[in-house]
């Protein structure tokens, strides 16, 4: 009988502590932004028509709790958008880090058309596009005047990524952060 009473008391104590922790936690827990670093952005396939880039982001969670993270990003190279995407939502363990990968397919003709529709003449579009294409390991596109490709100096600037991180903690509280990160050029893997 006494032992049952003891168990009851301990149980109520545990319950009270849990409830207090929740209340205090709700007051004190301020989600810190996770760190997002563009670890690499390599071309895994390239031809005269397409380049497939695989941006790899390293995510680190400085919070002492499990969080849900949804990241979206835009990749830029030489001032041009290479692609934008929202990646699948992931769980990031407390104090942990993990990689998240995506794939972006660049289409030469489509990129050329984009520059044209922005108001560049075909000549101007080619002048902007060819160094970038070469810098991303793209092969010589069709219809480039003979001898021109070998003279093109590949752009070597960094690939930049910027985007947003939507974090949710165990209370369902959401916070939005933004990030900017960059990595040096592309490297052909195959």
């Amino acid at each position: 009988m006494r032992s049952i009473k003891g168990v009851w008391r301990i149980s109520f104590l545990v319950l009270a502590i849990v409830l207090c922790m929740q209340a205090v936690g709700a007051e004190c827990k301020e989600l810190k932004p996770i760190s997002v670093e563009l670890e690499s952005c390599n071309a895994i396939y390239s031809s005269k028509d397409n380049v497939c880039l695989v941006p790899t982001f390293k995510l680190s969670n400085p919070n002492d709790q499990l969080i849900l993270a949804t990241i979206d990003y835009s990749l830029r190279f030489g001032g041009q958008i290479l692609g934008s995407a929202q990646m699948p939502t992931i769980y990031l363990p407390s104090g942990g880090a993990m990689d998240q990968r995506d794939a972006i397919v660049l289409v030469y003709k489509s990129w050329f058309a984009r520059l044209y529709f922005e108001g560049k003449s075909p000549g101007e579009a080619m002048k902007i596009l060819l160094p970038l294409w070469k810098g991303l390991d793209g092969k010589e596109p069709a219809k480039v005047p003979e001898g021109m490709w070998s003279k093109i100096v590949a752009t070597t600037s960094k690939i930049e990524a910027d985007g947003s991180i939507t974090l949710a903690d165990e209370d369902g509280t959401e916070r939005i952060f933004f990030f900017k990160t960059s990595v040096q050029g592309s490297k052909q893997l195959n």
Partner: protein, 419 residues
């Protein structure tokens, strides 16, 4: 008895832990959410202009979420509640087949409304929207038979048909015509299949003749064009008084350069650019060539001092973006429409009972909604042919700036080319 009470107690304690700390609970989200799918455009042929429009819409929705979500009064209780949008988005690259595969993923993710940038990308999913009873909002998209022919219709667009916008330009030009003879009116347009109805006899021609003008024809210009001299000369040789131009901004630039080089006097020949043909960059890209060109603008300009422009600037700063503000506003404005429709549907049926059809009904009955002044008003005039821009204004490029030269003009309703 006491042992069973203990078991019940511990089971309760376990449940509290499970509910509060399980990843499942996190995934489900404790707050109320409505899934919204955004098919945006960042790459592809229209990526240049459309990326700012996409940013504007996406940022506005994220801002609404960041401010706590959409506030509404729950009909059952009368209590003020909040719902956030669970935003799923992808880049459609202005590609119809990609748009369709994106739609399928949104559907699988439980999207209750899908917003798609562009006409062909929206048209590509309109049949699926009708089949699945999911409302679609085509923003920066024109109405067309391809988008509106499915029953029951769940698709809506920001703009009217191009024929209707063309005719609105004609209406305004005719109201300003001081000549004693019927004016001669012609057009130049990018040769896109869905734009062809403009040139058919029942389209703009019939309207012009009914309005008292003389139709001299439309000149079709290829998608990628470096010279439009022949088309311009053909129209000028017919003594044209007004040319209405539809194309991408590249067409706007090439045509402005060619007209300048050919010495076209914009005081004698009025040149009116339709909405897709220009944005605010026109005056930077071709400053001297654009002088005297008139533009039709259902959206306000970024230099106007309006609540919507101020909010968009604040949101853009919050998001850390820079770039073209005029296009950003063309996307930002639809955040107001979606927010209002979700609020209206929630207040009608409540969060637990809301269906995509309720959202469609709310979208298709938006009336006189003040969108921060970013357009005349969000106003669906015909629920069975839902378009959100009901009015446009005209501005002229003068002294390197856009000068507004008209009041809001109601968009014409032209049955031809709608279905």
């Amino acid at each position: 008895m006491k042992k069973s009470a203990l078991i019940v107690f511990f089971a309760g304690l376990f449940t509290i832990f499970t509910i509060n700390f399980s990843p499942l609970a996190m995934a489900q989200g404790i707050g109320k959410e409505i899934t919204v799918g955004l098919s945006l455009t960042y790459t592809g042929p229209l990526g240049g202009t459309a990326s700012s429009i996409s940013d504007g819409f996406l940022d506005h929705l994220m801002w609404i979420n960041n401010q706590g979500g959409i506030e509404y009064n729950e009909p059952g209780t009368g209590k003020s509640e909040r719902v956030k949008m669970k935003i799923k988005w992808e880049d459609n690259a202005y590609n119809s087949s990609k748009s369709l595969s994106i739609y399928k993923r949104f559907k699988a993710a439980g999207a209750m409304v899908v917003c798609s940038l562009g006409s062909p990308t929206g048209e590509a999913i309109s049949a699926s929207l009708s089949r699945d009873r999911v409302p679609g909002v085509g923003f920066y998209a024109g109405a067309s038979p391809a988008g509106f022919r499915h029953e029951p219709n769940y698709y809506s667009t920001s703009s009217s048909t191009l024929t209707e916008e063309f005719c609105t330009s004609v209406k305004w030009f005719m109201s300003d015509w001081k000549g004693t003879r019927p004016p001669k009116i012609g057009g130049m347009s990018m040769d896109a299949p869905s734009w062809r109805p403009m040139g058919e006899p029942g389209g703009v021609k019939a309207y012009v003749e009914k309005a008292g003008g003389k139709w001299v024809g439309i000149e079709w210009v290829p998608m990628i064009v470096t010279d439009t001299s022949i088309q311009i000369k053909r129209l000028v040789s017919k003594g044209v008084d007004a040319i209405v131009v539809f194309g991408g901004i590249s067409h706007g630039i090439v045509i402005a350069k060619d007209m300048f080089r050919l010495g076209i006097d914009f005081k004698k020949v009025k040149v009116l650019y339709g909405t897709p043909t220009w944005d605010e960059r026109l005056i930077d890209l071709v400053p001297k060539e654009a002088e005297g060109i008139i533009v039709s603008s259902p959206y306000t300009f970024s230099w106007e001092d309006l609540p919507g422009v101020r909010l968009a600037k604040k949101v853009r700063e919050w998001r850390g973006r820079s770039g073209e503000m005029g296009s950003y506003l063309r996307g930002f404005v639809f955040g107001y429409g979606l927010k209002a429709a979700l609020k209206s549907a929630l207040e009608k049926v409540g969060y637990e009972k809301i269906t995509p059809t309720d959202i469609r009904d709310a979208l298709f009955s938006l009336k006189d909604l003040d969108a921060g002044g970013l357009m005349y008003k969000i106003n669906v005039r015909e629920p069975d042919y839902p378009q959100y821009c009901s009015h446009t204004r005209f501005a002229i490029v003068e002294g390197g700036r856009f000068k507004i030269i008209s009041d809001w003009v109601e968009m014409e309703k032209v049955e031809y080319g709608r279905r």
